[in-house]
Symmetry: C2
Subunit: 198 residues, 2 copies
C-alpha cells in the first residue's frame, strides 16, 4: 500500500509496536516478527500496510516527530526562560524510564545509519530540524523580550540540542551513574547564564 | 590467542583496519572480510589473533582510547581556558574529514549497542569516563586558579562532553549544514561564560 494511504489508526498502532520493539531490541536486531509480537497484527498483517521494516520504522519516526512537535507546542510554561527549561525537561528523558531510554538509544542507532540509509535519514532530519527550530524560536523571543542576552538563537539551539542528544549516548546507553543529574544541573546553570542580569 | 597476548604492533595494525572499515561501513554492516580488505592480513590472519569481530572492535576502541588520552594529555595550550578550548577542538571533528566523521558515527553506533553488548560496553565506558575526567580536571584547575567561576567541575564536564557527543548525531550523521559552526560558536561562548569577569 502506498505509505500515504495507510489509515491513521493503523499507522499509529504499528508505530507503537515498532517503538516497543525498538526500545527492547534496538535497530540491528529488529525483525518484523518482533514488531508483530508487540502488535495485534501478524507479520503478514504488517506487510499489508508497509513493504519493509524500514518503512515501518519511518511510520514510527513520523509518529514520534508529531508527538514531540505536539509536546513542544503544548508546553504550558509562560515566558522564554520557563519554556526553554521545559523543552530541556522533555528532551532529557529520565534514566529510570527504561522504555523511553530504550527508544532514545534506538533513535541514536538510527541516526548512525542515516549516512547509509536515505529512507531513515529524511524523517530524522525533519525531526531534528523541527526541534532545533522550536528551541531557536524560544531563544529569539527571549532575546527580543530582553530576557536573554544577545545570543545567537540558532547557535544556542544547536548547543542545547547537541547536549541533550549527547546525553543519550553516555548517560542512557552506558548507564553512567550521576551523569544525568550533573548534566541537568549544568544545563540549568547554562540557561541561567543566558539571562540578562537585572 | 588471549587478547592480552596479542603483540602491540599486530593490535595496532588490526585496530587501524577496523577503524577504516567502520568509518566506511558502520558497525551493523561490518564483516571480518571488510576488515581484512583494509588490512594486509587475510580473515584467517585476523582470527589468528582475535576470536570474534567484537574482539577486533575492542582492539580498535582500546587503541582509540589510548590515542585520545594521549592527544588530550599532549595538549600544548597553557592555562585552563586555552586547554578547555583545545579539548573541544579535539572532540568536535571537522565535518569535512570524512574518515574522522565516519569513525565518530560508528562509535555512536557502538554506543547504541552498549546496553545489549557487554564486550563493547566496557571499553566505551572507560573512554567516556577518561574524557570526562580530563575535562573535569581542567575545569577544577580553572576554578582553583580563579580563572573560571565556581562551577561544578563534573557537571560542566558532562555538559561539554554531551554537547560534543551530540554533535556527531545531528551535524555529522545527518550532515546538517552550518550546524557545526553554530555549535562551535556557542560552545566557545559557553566557555566565555565560565570565565571570571575581571
Amino acid at each position: 500500500m502506498p505509505v500515504d494511504s495507510v489509515p491513521p489508526e493503523q499507522k499509529a498502532q504499528i508505530a507503537n509496536a515498532v517503538r516497543a520493539a525498538l526500545a527492547e531490541h534496538g535497530y540491528a536486531r529488529l525483525t518484523t516478527k518482533k514488531v508483530a509480537a508487540e502488535s495485534d497484527k501478524s507479520e503478514a498483517g504488517l506487510y499489508y500496510y508497509y513493504d519493509s521494516k524500514d518503512e515501518m520504522i519511518v511510520a514510527f519516526l513520523e509518529t514520534s516527530e508529531d508527538y514531540l512537535a505536539r509536546s513542544l507546542h503544548d508546553i504550558d510554561a509562560e515566558g522564554p526562560e520557563a519554556r526553554l527549561r521545559a523543552v530541556c525537561d522533555i528532551l532529557l528523558v529520565d534514566e529510570g524510564d527504561a522504555a523511553a531510554a530504550g527508544v532514545n538509544i534506538a533513535v541514536m542507532e538510527l541516526l548512525s545509519h542515516a549516512p547509509h540509509n536515505e529512507t531513515l535519514r529524511e524523517p530524522l532530519l525533519r525531526m531534528e530540524r523541527h526541534t532545533l527550530g522550536v528551541i531557536a524560536d524560544i531563544v529569539r523571543d527571549g532575546v527580543e523580550q530582553g530576557v536573554f542576552r544577545e545570543v545567537d538563537p540558532e547557535g544556542t539551539a544547536a548547543f542545547v540540542l547537541s547536549a541533550t542528544d549527547g546525553y543519550t549516548g553516555f548517560a542512557l546507553a552506558l548507564g553512567m551513574e550521576g551523569v544525568g543529574d550533573d548534566l541537568r544541573a549544568s544545563l540549568s546553570a547554562y540557561i541561567d547564564s543566558l539571562l540578562v542580569v537585572a
